[in-house]
Structure formats: C-alpha cells, structure tokens
Symmetry: C3
Subunit: 293 residues, 3 copies
C-alpha cells in the first residue's frame, strides 16, 4: 500500500463498508500478528491510530517513533534496516522524510509494507480516511464540489487527497497562493476537470467540502508574502457565513492557526471526526492486507 493511485474505486468502496463494520469493534482477527511501526520521522496521529487499529484487532506492535538511536544512526543502510524489520514482523508501517522510501521498502521486504507518509510524496491511508469521512457524511462522493486549500505543492496529505478524490466525479477547486500550486507531475495525473484559484472567497459559496491544509513559512522567500497568505486563508466562523449550510470543513491535522477554534463548535467542523476515522479505516486496511475479511 504505497500510493492511493494503486487503489480502485471498487476497492475503496469495499474498504469503506468494512471500516463502517469496524467502528467501535475489538476483535482477535490479528492475534499473534506483529506490526513493525517504523517511524523514521515522528508523527503522533498517524502512528497512534495505526497502533490503536492493530491492537483493536488483537495484534501486537514493535518499533520506533524516530530514527534517533536506531541502527540508521549508526550508519546502517535503509535496506538493511528494512530487512531486519521484515524478519521480526508481519507487516511494516513506514513513515520517512524521503519520497520513495516506502516503495523502496516494499521492494526489499517480503511482508506487506504500508506507506504512512513519505516526504512530499504520498500518504495513502490519510487519503483513504479523508474519502471515507466524506463518503460517510454525504453517502457518496460523486457530484460534490470539493475545495482544497493551502500548500498543494509540498503537502503530501493534500497531494494524496487530490489523487484520491479525482477518482470520483467531483468538481474540484484547487485554492492556493501561486507559488504553492500543484506540481506538474500531480497535475498530469488528475483525470478530471479542475479549477485553480487563489481566491477562497470566490469559490467558497459553491463548496460542499473545504479541505484545509497547513502552509509552512519556509516555503516563502518573502516573509511578508507568507503573512498575507496566512491571514487570507485563515478560516473562522465568520469566513463560513458565506458558505453552504451543509459545507463541511476538513483538515488532516495538526492545525496551527489555519482553522480558528471558533469553527470547532459549528456544524461545519468535521476534522475531529475525520481524525477519529483513522482508526476504523486502518483496521479495515489491516484486515484486507491480512486477508481476514
């Protein structure tokens, strides 16, 4: 499970149905199975929801939560580290700062490898839970108007979500400051029409879903440019006055100011449910991977 592109609509649909079944469940399906939780780059949310999912299925977890103090630190090659994990576990969940790391791991390992985010590349299980969240909210994804806001150039959550959602017949609005527009190679993979804009206010009234992502200061050469963008893309409860009554606001989290806490209490806020959906979706995925469905 390296990229959301490798997953068909049918497979996603089956996953969503299975995730629905898994909500709140505890099983012994993966009793005796061991997940290697290989977080070369730290991540709280993704790591803990994977571990929670594995344990709710009766499985066990070994691993590390940063590359500090691992044999990588001692100069071991990435391939050798993966070969070790391959022999100590039944599935490897990997987060790494370099794009392509998960694919490389999958080439080396005999056990299944799940990409939990690699560089600016892919974060397929994030896209799965994002899509599941929309599917669950609206009953379907086709026909919706979906805006994606923020750093569409470097953000892997945004990238994977764009790839995932473009499997559906949606109207796609990509909202970003010009320097953070989607990269050429992502653009060429989107099989549906989409509109690019920097103007949130203009497209907001049409949206059913507004997917917000973080914009990092480091991406701008001119700090004042960053401040301007940051301010204009900050979502507050008043921003949403011009939105559809049923608009939902999503965010892969963590947020650092992109969505004001005033939004939390509105009916638009779906990001906490979205985060919670990480557990049943990852339970479903693990069940599929181990063939216990």
């Amino acid at each position: 499970m390296i990229s959301i592109e490798d997953v068909s609509r049918k497979e996603l649909e089956d996953l969503f149905l299975l995730a629905d079944e898994m909500r709140g469940r505890r099983t012994d399906d993966l009793k005796g199975k061991i997940m290697a939780s290989a977080f070369f780059e730290p991540s709280t949310r993704t790591r803990l929801s994977f571990e929670s999912a594995m344990k709710r299925l009766g499985g066990e977890v070994i691993g590390f939560s940063s590359s500090e103090g691992t044999s990588i630190d001692k100069g071991e090659s990435f391939s050798d580290t993966i070969r070790m994990l391959d022999r100590y576990s039944d599935v490897i969940v990997i987060r790494h700062r370099y794009e392509g790391a998960a694919r490389r791991a999958a080439e080396v390992a005999e056990v299944p490898v799940i990409n939990a985010g690699d560089g600016r590349g892919n974060h397929p299980t994030q896209a799965m839970l994002d899509l599941y969240t929309i599917w669950r909210k609206f009953g379907c994804i086709d026909g919706l108007t979906i805006g994606i806001l923020g750093d569409l150039r470097y953000g892997r959550a945004a990238n994977s979500f764009i790839c995932g959602v473009s499997k559906y017949k949606v109207r796609l609005k990509l909202i970003s400051p010009p320097p953070l527009r989607i990269r050429h190679e992502v653009r060429s993979k989107i099989g549906i029409d989409f509109e690019e804009t920097f103007d949130l206010e203009k497209v907001l009234p049409e949206l059913d879903v507004l997917y917000v992502t973080r914009i990092q200061k480091e991406r701008f050469s001119d700090p004042s440019e960053y401040e301007k963008v940051k301010e204009s893309y900050r979502i507050t409860s008043s921003t949403l006055m011009k939105a559809k009554k049923d608009l939902v606001v999503m965010h892969p989290l963590p947020r650092v100011g992109e969505i004001d806490v005033s939004v939390d209490v509105t009916k638009h806020a779906l990001y906490f449910d979205q985060a919670a959906n990480g557990v049943p979706v990852r339970m479903a995925l693990l069940k599929v991977i181990f063939g216990v469905v």
Copy 2:
C-alpha cells in the same frame, strides 16, 4: 481522577481492599481496552507502573514518553492533542509540566483522564499508593504520627500526600526549611491540626512514618543555604537510631542522596515496597474507572 481531594475516605478504603486483591494477579478484565499513556514530561516509575498495571489487567497501551517529536512539537494545541488521544483510546493517563493540564484534558476528553502528575500541582495516584502503603503496614492510618520532610512548597508528591493524609486523624509534622514551607492555598485545605518545623531531630522520636522528598538546588538563591539544608536532612542509618523501633521511612523516588543506602537494609526502609505498590493500586484504580470490580 485529577486530584486526591476529589476522593473520599470510603473510596480510598475500597481502593485499598481492591489493591490487596490485585497483588500478583493477572486478569483479562480490560481485554480490548486501550490506555493512552501521554507523558508530555518524562517519568519512568509512574509510566512503567501504569503500563504494567494496564497489561496485567489484559489491556493495551499506546502513547509517548516525552513531548519530543509529537504534534505538540509541530505547534498543535494541547486541546487538539487530547482530542486525538480521546478518539484513539479508552482512558488517558497524562503527565504534564503545567499545573492544571490534567483538569483541562478532562474537560476536553470524553474518555476518563487520570492525572499522573501536573506541574507542582497534583499527583493523586502517588498519594493513593503512599496511603495504601501505610494502611497495609499499620492496618490503619488514623492515630499515626506522620512527618513529611523536604520541599513542601513545590513538590507535587508531597503536596498530594499532605492533602491525602489529612483526610485521616493523624498528627502531622511538616518538616522543611523555611523557604520550602507549604503554600498558603495548600495550608488552607488541610482540615486537621499540624505542626511546622525545620528541626527533624526534634520531631523524629515521635514519628511512626517519615515521608522524605527531594529538595532541588534550584529552589535556593543562596547555594550555601542549600548545602546546609541538604546535609541536615540527609537520612542515614545513624539518623534513625533516635527513632521509634517501628518507624517506616518512605520516599516517592527517585532519591538522589536524601536517603543513604545504609537505610536500605534496616527494617525502617519501606520505599521499595512503596514503589512496588504502584502496580496493584493502579490496577485497582483502572478497574474502578472501567467499572469492572
């Protein structure tokens, strides 16, 4: 479970009886339950005894042992982090450097929150195991003469212990250098008579329990003052020659010189048993919280 003040004598008594039952036991009472072990500030003893307790009850643990590399590091708000843990687990055990953090977490989370120490504030499960240790040793707590030695101003273990023990009819001797006397707001909460002194030697012969805590150098503006206090409050086997035959010496641990190793082999030393009691007391508490008693 935020503060020892919220717990009645009756509840403590029930907890002690249940802890007695739990000694050395392994059960499946919490099979399928997940504890989030959220140690924003490191702690070996408290964390490992909580995790040991959870696992002895058949439960599972996810979490982190320091805030390094967590989403807090990326700028996520405390509330957002707690909301995530809330959705991935069935109980949150939280240690944090800021007073009030556990109470704030309990307001945000829907699952139960256990305070494992917040700033200079509370450390209620430490007080529970301290009281349990005395109860188990003497068969009761009422009627004893209890001395508490060290940093009574900033030490959260001492604070929680003072609040806990003052639920009983004990003679309380608070022994500390003047700058480290109990704070006004703690003083006003103690419902029983107590004596404050800096003179250990004077009160030692009366004591049934001597509860020693660490004094940190940083609390003194004058280093020579610290050295003097440190030396006069250092417990050795000869210090204890003037004590009652049945005096027990306690310490929340870790100790760094307050109690000399010469005390370890005397009958007075109760601090290792005290530390060990962390497991059955926390097992009992978890059973109460999950309603499996």
Copy 3:
C-alpha cells in the same frame, strides 16, 4: 543469563533444538508475563527481536529504548532503577554501555536478568544466535574452521562469539589488525588452539565460516592506519572467489561497509538469516527462563 561462559554445550544444544521448534510459531506460553526492556543504550536489532520474541510467546513488554528522560537522568542510581523494574516486571532485558552492568542488575533484582550487551563485555544472546545459525547451516559446529575478522579487542559481539565457539572443537583463526587483537583476559579463557593473524587472504581459503565485525575509526590513533585496515578487510564478492564453495559469511549487523552489497546475492551471505534467527533463539531462551519447555 549474563555471559555465554555460564552456558554449557548441552544447554546450547537443547536451546538450538527448542529454537528450531519455535520458528514461525505463535504461542500463549508467556501470557500475563511482562518483560522490562531496559535499553540504557539504544539498539534496534536486539531490542526489536527480544520484543518480537516476547510477543510471539503471548507476553507483554514495558520499558525504554534510551536512558534519556528516565529517572537515571534525574540522578537515580542504577540499583534503584533496577529495583523498580524488578517490581514491575517478570524478566529484565538490559543493554548498558558499562561492562558489568548486567551482572550488577542480576545481583539487585529478584526476577531473571538477561544481558543484551554490556560495554565491551558480553552479548551472550548474540553468541547464541550466532552459534545456532552455524549449527543449523552445517548440522554441527565441531570440526569447522572458523575465522573471526575485525575488532576483537573492543567488540562485544566478537568477544562473546569467541567465548561461545571455543566450547566446540573448531579450528579458530582470529584475524585483526595488531592493535585490535583479543585482550589478554579473553585469550586466557579460550580453551582451544587458535591462530592469530592480520592476513585475511592467507587464511580465507581454509574457512567454513567467516564472521565479520565492524572496525571503528575511533580505535586508531593514526587515521591513515584505519583507512588501510578498512580497505583490506572489506569483503566483496571478488574477495570470496578464493573461498570454499560452502563458506558462509556472518555479521552481527549493523554493517557499515565491511561487507559489500555485492555479497548479499551470493550463496555465502548468511547474515540476514543470522539476524532473523534472533527471534526463535530468544523465544527459546525466554521459554527456558520461565520454565515452559
């Protein structure tokens, strides 16, 4: 389990047979048991294979993967830390940078202590899995010609392997640069004949097993001396052209250039299997220690 010296040939043989039984198995033998994984010094391979072994036997793990943030950091004595682990767990697995740490822990603790590497001293479970790997490959160990290459002075894996293998009737070739020859106290413990040389090329054609270890730059006062040694001891597929057809190359891993990746695809490469054997050997050892064989 502190030193490979304490283990007899008969005990090793029984362990190997049990390890063979454990390959690929998942049991409930250690259900309810808790291992304290006390890695004061980081180690990925040893830690994860111990944890994988414990979990495959149905047991649980608590612990820490570096001394950072533990109570040792706060100034607690090693003995006090061990006493705590002793009370929270059923077996302690300890890795420490100081020679003798594991033996000290075993004196303090009541539960069994397993040495997972102490300073330049011992790494007995590494020696067990090394010997098991040879035993499994050749059906026996007696009669083989075994070369050990690298840092024989400071390397604990090499030291423990030398001690372990000299329980057998093997022809031993110790290949190292003169400053990294075995220490006097190790030399005196080897009960069999052995040859010391710096010349790999000379002895290579006789070997059935070539056990390679890492040479650390810090061991040389003259950097150019290090570079020379490093180059001449680097194993590539062409190095092995002069070797026996059935020669196996082993390495405790991680490697950082001592064995070229060109060797990985040859039939000589046994180091990945060797690493994998860590799991069944440690499962067998845990079963023996808990008396569930």
